[in-house]
């Protein structure tokens, strides 16, 4: 591990435990240094968790998104940004094989997870999704109690847990929700506010201890205060998890991510159909200051999109 990664990794574990109760009392949102500028991000990821090489994703014969070549580094936050219809959500769903559930979806190129081909013939998509979790755009808690929502994953995956109560508490604490719900764990999840529901969904995802957490515009349905809480929580989670987030919000990408992949749309001259294309992938600081592609610069500077 490099010295760039070191201060993030180890002391943070201890820090996190002392930090969290205090964090819940008064979320230290203000004055927190944006992650992207607050640390040195190495030129290339130290340890690649997911390696995407020359991937294109099709729905039938229609190419939804192409030109995907990205390396997702361990304990980094990578943002996928770009205008609507650029295929960033489609790309995200390819990283835990959620696209398999859409009839007609297929993929060319290679996605490998820690050296294994994610789309290899012997890979079980169920296992993939247990390692690579996902949080959706709209909060989608199950119609169950708060407790049962968090315990769902460990239960269905047959995770060996000595004490489910501890798992639930830990997941809710990591998702910065514990203090708000600890006295009403048996209450129905639908009673929570939108922001709380989304944090519950994040708690539910990390309760199965995944390696990677995919987030598909997790804050787009939330108000700014809930968004701020979740952003702060994500930077905390990045001490343990590899996070890939799709966002419409460029400021959000700039605030929390280490690296950014920029996508755009492009019209096929022959068919007139619009499909997505990954344009550029780099350190977030570089994407937002000196992007190498003109299209990125136009988007960042607000000329389109």
């Amino acid at each position: 591990m490099s010295d760039a990664d070191e201060p993030m990794a180890d002391p943070s574990h201890e820090l996190a435990d002392q930090d969290r109760p205090a964090a819940a009392e008064a979320p230290p949102l203000a004055g927190r240094i944006p992650r992207a500028t607050g640390r040195t991000v190495p030129d290339a990821p130290e340890e690649i968790v997911i390696n995407v090489a020359d991937v294109a994703i099709y729905y039938g014969s229609f190419c939804a998104v192409g030109g995907l070549t990205v390396q997702f580094g361990r304990r980094e936050i990578t943002a996928l940004i770009g205008p609507s219809g650029c295929g960033k959500s489609t790309a995200l769903r390819a990283f835990n094989r959620m696209n398999d559930l859409i009839p007609g979806a297929r993929l060319t190129g290679s996605v490998s997870y820690r050296g294994q081909d994610l789309y290899g013939p012997r890979v079980d998509p169920i296992t993939v999704r247990r390692r690579i979790g996902m949080v959706f755009q709209k909060p989608n808690p199950f119609p169950k109690s708060i407790y049962d929502n968090v315990a769902y994953g460990p239960r269905v995956t047959g995770m060996k847990v000595p004490n489910m109560d501890d798992v639930v508490e830990e997941a809710l604490t990591s998702a910065a929700l514990w203090d708000e719900v600890k006295d009403k764990l048996r209450q129905h999840a639908f009673g929570l506010s939108g922001g709380q529901q989304q944090r519950l969904c994040i708690a539910r995802t990390i309760a199965v201890r995944p390696d990677v957490v995919l987030m598909d515009e997790p804050c787009s349905a939330l108000d700014p205060i809930s968004t701020a809480k979740i952003e702060y929580m994500m930077t905390e989670l990045a001490d343990e998890y590899t996070i890939i987030i799709v966002t419409h919000n460029m400021q959000q990408a700039a605030r929390i991510s280490d690296r950014t992949a920029f996508f755009t749309t492009e019209v096929d001259d022959a068919t007139g159909r619009r499909s997505g294309l990954m344009v550029e992938f780099d350190r977030t600081a570089k994407i937002f200051s000196t992007p190498s592609d003109q299209r990125t610069e136009d988007y960042i500077s607000g000329k389109f999109g």
């Binding site: 835990n96 959620m98 559930l101 009839p103 169920i126 296992t127 999704r129 247990r130 979790g133 996902m134 959706f136 709209k138 989608n140 808690p141 199950f142 119609p143 169950k144 769902y152 994953g153 239960r155 269905v156 995956t157 639908f190 969904c201 539910r204 995802t205 199965v208």
Partner: protein
């Protein structure tokens, strides 16, 4: 200069059109209200029509004898008015019907909503609803002339096997009859569960089966309960199948291979005979009818409670 868009008559009172429109609206309102009142009035009328002869019946037979007696021979010279044999017969046939209809109906619903493709669903659902349109007398005949002989031929369990008239084939065929009810209503309830929840469960590493059993079915429980209760009501109230296939002798037994007479079958059989108005036989019909009414009413109340308790509201 272009015409001023505000340059028109702004007077709100427009004379003739207004009053005739009001008249028509009022008429529609009254016709619709009459339709609503008529159905309520009919229900009240039926209850009263049931209640009067029932009260007369209970002046001649004690309610205790009626509800706890084990012998039902109301039309004999020395009559006994214990309704229990009819009630157990209804319970037995309903039990066997549900044993068929619930697993098959729910299985069918789960398949259509969770596994089948759009095309399969489009073909399957109307087919299922055709099954619901078959007249019940046909089902009764099917039970008597097909299922009963078949059961008698293949019977391998101890005992003599089903008699010509028996509760088992009536119950089983009644189950087949209510499969579409259970399947169609449960499928509606399961399809109404938002796909977000399925995606969320899938993303946590659930298999398709786990999504169905742990997310979709619990989320659709309210609708599934409603479907089940409707199925029970239909089984309890079903007349033709049991009258044709289960036999016409009141028989206090839980053995489905024996003939038995359900409450509905008794009413049908006794109403076909000539019971002089005001005779005890006539009043018996109404007493059994009232009991049936009360049983289904209680079931409906319970079902409404359950449906409310398990209802999930999605945005």
């Amino acid at each position: 200069m272009a015409a001023d868009p505000h340059d028109f008559d702004v007077s709100m009172a427009t004379g003739i059109g207004w009053s005739s429109r009001r008249l028509r609206e009022g008429l529609v309102r009254r016709v619709l209200m009459a339709a609503a009142l008529l159905s309520v009035a009919t229900t009240i009328g039926i209850v009263v029509a049931l209640a009067v002869p029932t009260v007369q019946f209970f002046t001649r037979v004690s309610p205790v004898e009626f509800l706890t007696g084990t012998e039902w021979t109301p039309l004999f010279a020395s009559p006994h008015f214990g309704v229990l044999p009819l009630v157990t017969a209804t319970a037995v046939t309903t039990f066997w019907a549900l044993l068929v209809a619930l697993p098959l109906g729910l299985g069918c619903a789960a398949y259509l909503s969770e596994y089948a493709g759009r095309r399969t669903r489009k073909i399957f659902k109307p087919l299922l609803e055709i099954l619901a349109g078959v007249p019940t007398v046909v089902y009764g005949f099917f039970a008597l002339t097909f299922l009963t002989p078949l059961l008698r031929d293949i019977w391998i369990l101890p005992g003599k096997g089903p008699q010509i008239y028996n509760a088992l084939s009536a119950g089983l065929v009644m189950g087949i009859m209510i499969i579409p009810t259970v399947a169609s209503l449960s499928e509606d309830a399961m399809s109404a569960v938002p796909d977000d929840l399925r995606a969320g469960a899938r993303a946590l590493g659930s298999t398709a089966r786990q999504v169905t059993t742990r997310v979709t079915i619990p989320a659709a429980l309210s609708g599934i309960i409603a479907a089940t209760m409707l199925a029970v009501s239909r089984a309890v109230g079903e007349t033709m199948i049991v009258a044709v296939a289960a036999g016409g002798t009141a028989n206090l037994s839980l053995d489905p291979t024996e003939p038995m007479q359900t409450m509905t079958a008794f009413i049908a059989a006794a109403a076909l005979g000539d019971q002089p108005t005001g005779s005890i036989g006539y009043q018996t019909l109404f007493a059994v009818g009232s009991l049936l009414f009360v049983i289904t009413l209680i079931m409906n109340i319970v079902s409404i409670r359950l449906v409310r308790r398990y209802r999930e509201v999605y945005e």
